[in-house]
Structures are given as C-alpha cells and as structure tokens.
C-alpha cells in the first residue's frame, strides 16, 4: 500500500501545502451505515471500493477550514438543476484538485427543498448531482472519481417552512 505512487504524490502535495498530519483516524467522511432492522437478503455494495488503509492519514485539504476546498456546498434555484454562475469557480477548484489527484473520490449528494412531491424531488436532487458530475468530468475529473446520490427532500440542512430554510436545502454537497 505504501508504495502506491499516487498516494505518495498525494502525501508530498499535502506536506508541501502544510496540511500533513492534521487528519486523525476515525474522522473520515466514510461513515458506517447503521444496521438495518431487517437486513436485506442481498446487501448493497458501496459505490466505491474502500479507501486504501494508508490514505486515511493522507491529505484531506477539504477538512482544512483555510482551504477553498473546505467549501463543499453549492446552492440551486427552485426546481432548477442549473449551476449558478457564482459557484462555477468553486467547482473548478474542486475539479482541478481532483484532476490532479486521481485517487480522490467524491460523492455528490443532491438535495431539494420540501415543496412538491417527494419522488419528483428525489429525481430533482439526482439531476442536480448529475449536473455537477458532468461539470466536473468536463473539467478533467475521471468518471470513476465521482458518484452521485440523491436524497431529495429527505435530509434538509435547515429546518423550517420558508424561503430562508428552502434556499439552504436546495443544494449539492461534495462528500469526499
């Protein structure tokens, strides 16, 4: 594992950026799914193979509040999956990083506000995530680096039944 050249390069970049050593074991974003009440007959496979053990200690610039990569949320207009102009530079920053770090994996989580029907919102969240995915692929990210996952309106970031909450809930989260 430690001979993985991409990993070695990632580590080198991390140290060059002064980011090495800040990650600690156990705070990775790969949360363990809760056990199901009644396990499925066939268990679902994760979207991506597990991260190589050593990489957990590697660079995680998106966890550094001073890095532009720490901004992992982009917001959408109502019933729209178009990327707003103001979020293009941020997505380019993420895509640029990922294109340079082909071992990096990200899941684009699409969300909507609570208005309208739940399944339409599940589809809308999927379209938002796929729009961001297409943008990143066009910026040089490899297809196997990006997965999409829509939660529709099921996981609001903000509670409440007004535009204040809704505007925060219409989002794609980049989950590295």
């Amino acid at each position: 594992m430690s001979t993985n050249p991409a990993l070695a390069m990632g580590l080198a970049v991390a140290f060059a950026l002064g980011l090495g050593g800040c990650a600690t074991q156990g705070e990775g974003p790969e949360t363990v799914p809760p056990p199901a009440a009644r396990p499925a007959v066939g268990t679902a496979t994760p979207s991506f193979p597990a991260t190589p053990q050593g990489e957990r200690f590697a660079d995680r610039p998106w966890d550094d509040p001073n890095s532009p990569l720490s901004r992992k949320l982009i917001y959408f207009d109502y019933d729209s999956s178009e990327i707003r102009q103001e979020f293009v530079p941020l997505l380019q920053t993420h895509a640029g990083y990922m294109a340079k770090h082909p071992q990096t994996r990200v899941t684009l989580e699409g969300h909507t506000d609570e208005r309208g029907s739940r399944e339409y919102n599940l589809a809308l969240g999927d379209q938002r995530a796929q729009t961001v995915q297409r943008f990143m692929l066009a910026e040089g990210v490899q297809a196997d680096q990006v997965a999409t996952l829509s939660f529709g309106e099921e996981k609001p970031a903000a509670a409440g039944h007004g535009e204040g909450a809704w505007s925060q809930n219409r989002r794609v989260e980049l989950a590295y």
Binding site: L122, D126, F151
Partner: protein, 428 residues
C-alpha cells in the same frame, strides 16, 4: 397505597405506549346530513364475555365515514339482539332509519357472530348473516360487517376492513418507520425501520406485499416485502435513484424510476423473469409512474415541458401525451379505481394542494385540500375518499377527504410526523 398505584401506573404507561404507536382519526367535517342509524350493542351467550364490543366497532366505522350518525347507546330504549325482538315503533319514534343488531356466541375454536340490518320504516330485513371468527380476528370481522352494512346502504363497497401504509418520522436524528395499520388506525404494525430515509410505500394488488424505497445502505434501493412474514428482497439497486415503485394491476410487474441511464426514466420490472424494460427515455425528469386500473397505460410526472406536468404513455412504451394543462406544477398522480380521474399534487397561488382531475377534458381540476405543502394523494379502493399528507399545527399528519367533498378526517400520531399514506386494495 403504593402497591395499588404502581400496577396502575404500569398499566397507564403501557396504554400510552400503545396509543402513541397508533393513528388517531378525527372526523373534521361531514356529519351534517348523515343518516341516523342505531347499532345496538351485540348480545353474548350467558357467561361468555366476547373479547371485543363488536357493535361499538361497527358504529365507530359508520360514524367515521361521515355518512352515518350512530345513535348513542345510552339513548336506546331497548337492546334487541334478533329481528324478532325488535319493536319498530320505538326506533321510528327515535328517528332512526336503520337498525343493526347482532349476537356473539362462543363455538369451538372461536366465535360465531350473527347480525342483521333492518329498515326501520318498512320493517324489511336488508341483511342477515353469520360469520365465524376468532378472538384475535374479531375486530377484522367487525370491520367486514360494517363494510357489508355500508355497501347495502350506499351501494358502494365499504373500506373499513382495508389498511393504510404510512411513514412516520420521530424528527432530526430519529428513526423513520414504515407502518401499516387498520383503516381505523388500530393494530399498527412496523414493516421496516431505519435511521435513513424510507419512502414511497406501494401495495401489491393482493394486499400481501409492500414495495418501498429505503436508503438503509446509504443509497436508494427498492424492496418488496411480504407483510405477513416480514420476508423481503431488494428488487432494484442500480446506480443513481431507485424510486417510485408501483405494482401493475395484475401484480406481475413493478414500475419504477431509475436514473442509471443518466436521467430519471420510467422502467417496468417483470417480477418473475426479472427482466427490466425501459418505458420512457427523456433527458429531463420522468418519475412517479401510476398504472391505469386496466394496466394499459402509465401516467407519470415529467418536466420535459419546462415544469412538472402529468403525461400518459402506453405501458408498452411509445410516445407520451400530456395530460395536465392547468397550473404550473402537477405531480404524483394516482388513478381513481374506476380509471376516470387522477388525484395529484398541484400548485395554486404558490400553495401545494391535492387536485382531482377528470380525464377526458371534462371540466376544470377540483382542489380537494387547503394546506400549503399537501402531497402523496392515494385513493381509497372504493374511490370514495382520497388520503394525503398535510400539516396541522406545524406537524406532519394525514388527512382524508371524500371525493364528494362532504366528509373529511384527520389522522395523526401523538408524536412525530406521519406522511406518505398508501391505501390498501380491497381484498375479498
């Protein structure tokens, strides 16, 4: 003193626990103009105490429908348990139109319930029958008797013995649970529970299975579960969304939304051969398939025209035709059991409400609800009511309204949200 209070407290806590798990139904409109009916408390053989007040269950069912106004039992002058014991003059004086009587007798392995329905003015006996049941099955049998009475008096099958599937949510970080309860809110049974979202329960036509979407593995998958045994299997876990399951009327196929092809489209899975067939193919969103009762066509929500609208396609595929033209948001359509109408989510003046649309261009859409975030309409299997999700005092509850607009009910839990109702089919 303490020796008395502790068991009482335990009893009370047990009772409260049960109440929280069940739906409470309030009639919020419709008793005006309801038919007066007397449901006499059912008799029992000497010394045999039935496990259930059958007459009370029947009376509560009829009252909840909003079409009947059962007489309070304390106002009754007599309690006949057979047609021969009825003095029609008493009941005419009390203004009753109909009278229900009955008797519960223990037999080996269970009970026999004899019952009858009388027209108080003509004296005709409209119904007279006998049903075998068990202690555990007595509530269901009482609902079946209420169904028979309702059908005799209204000409429409009763739905008191049907069930309702719904999703409950205990709030942020709480568990999401898919439940099934009797149509009167009793007997709530947990189908599946998870810390991740569960949505879109759909009944099989035989009422034995539920399909639903669960994120329990941190991604969407569609499961089909046998309600009786709890056994289940995943039937769709493709990349992207796996949503909107809908059983075909013959129960052999499951329509669903998958985005594995790049955008959400409608597919039909043959549940026997596991062959998957794509029905729609569009760059925009196609979702929320609903089969026409004859299985020939599928309506679905699509934003291909710029805003979500309902379209119709042959279930074999082919070109889709637009169905809705009023309002700029129409989604989540459900067919009425006769196939002539759609209940759907529509936006009127910025409010999301339940609309009822007659197919074939007959008249404007009728607005059936008055909330701001109403969703998930589902028809009762006799077509008389539409159940949907709404908010009351800031909390997610269910509401049901009769298609004729006369009757409305609210179904809520003591705590947490209730949403995504799906009314079971009639199973005879």
């Amino acid at each position: 003193m303490n020796r008395l209070i502790l068991p009482l407290l335990t009893l009370l806590l047990t009772w409260v626990g049960q109440v929280q798990a069940q739906l409470t139904i309030e009639v919020t409109g419709g008793v005006e103009g309801a038919q007066p009916i007397a449901v006499v408390p059912f008799g029992a053989a000497d010394g045999a105490i039935p496990p259930l007040d059958v007459g009370a269950v029947i009376a509560a069912d009829l009252a909840r429908s909003g079409r009947f106004k059962p007489m309070p039992t304390q106002d009754m002058l007599a309690t006949p348990h057979a047609a021969a014991e009825v003095d029609l003059r008493d009941w005419r004086l009390l203004g009753m139109q109909h009278l229900v009587f009955g008797n519960v007798s223990p037999v080996s392995g269970g009970f026999t319930i004899d019952y009858g329905l009388l027209d108080v003015f003509s004296g005709d006996q409209l119904l007279g029958a006998s049903r075998q049941t068990t202690g555990a099955g007595m509530r269901y049998t009482a609902h079946r008797i209420a169904d028979a009475i309702y059908e005799k008096l209204t000409g429409q099958p009763g739905v008191f013995s049907t069930r309702i599937a719904y999703v409950t949510d205990q709030g942020t970080g709480g568990r999401v649970t898919l439940r099934v309860s009797d149509a009167d809110g009793f007997g709530a049974q947990t189908i599946v529970s998870s810390n991740e979202p569960i949505l879109s329960p759909a009944w099989s036509p035989d009422g034995q299975h539920l399909a639903y979407v669960s994120f329990e593995n941190r991604r969407a998958a569609i499961y089909v579960q046998d309600i009786g045994s709890g056994r289940r299997e995943p039937v769709a876990s493709h990349p992207g969304i796996n949503g909107s399951p809908a059983f075909s009327p013959d129960g052999r196929s499951l329509a669903m939304t998958l985005s594995k092809g790049g955008s959400p489209d409608i597919y039909v899975l043959d549940l026997t051969t596991r062959q998957l067939r794509q029905v729609t193919d569009h760059l925009g969103i196609d979702t929320e398939p609903a089969w026409s009762p004859d299985g020939a066509s599928i309506v679905f929500t699509s934003n291909r025209g710029g805003s979500p609208q309902i379209y119709r396609v042959s279930s074999g595929g082919g070109p889709a035709e637009r169905v809705t033209f009023e309002n700029d948001y129409n989604a989540a359509a459900a067919f009425s059991p006769d196939g002539n109408s759609l209940a759907l989510v529509t936006r009127v003046n910025g409010q999301f409400r339940i609309g009822l649309l007659k197919l074939g261009g007959a008249g404007p859409m009728r607005i059936m609800s008055s909330g701001t975030l109403d969703e998930s309409p589902s028809f009762a299997p006799n077509g008389s009511m539409i159940i949907y999700a709404t908010h009351h005092n800031g909390r997610g509850v269910l509401a049901a309204t009769s298609v004729d607009g006369r009757v409305s009910q609210r179904l809520s839990q003591d705590s947490g949200e209730v949403r995504e109702p799906a009314w079971s089919p009639l199973v005879r």
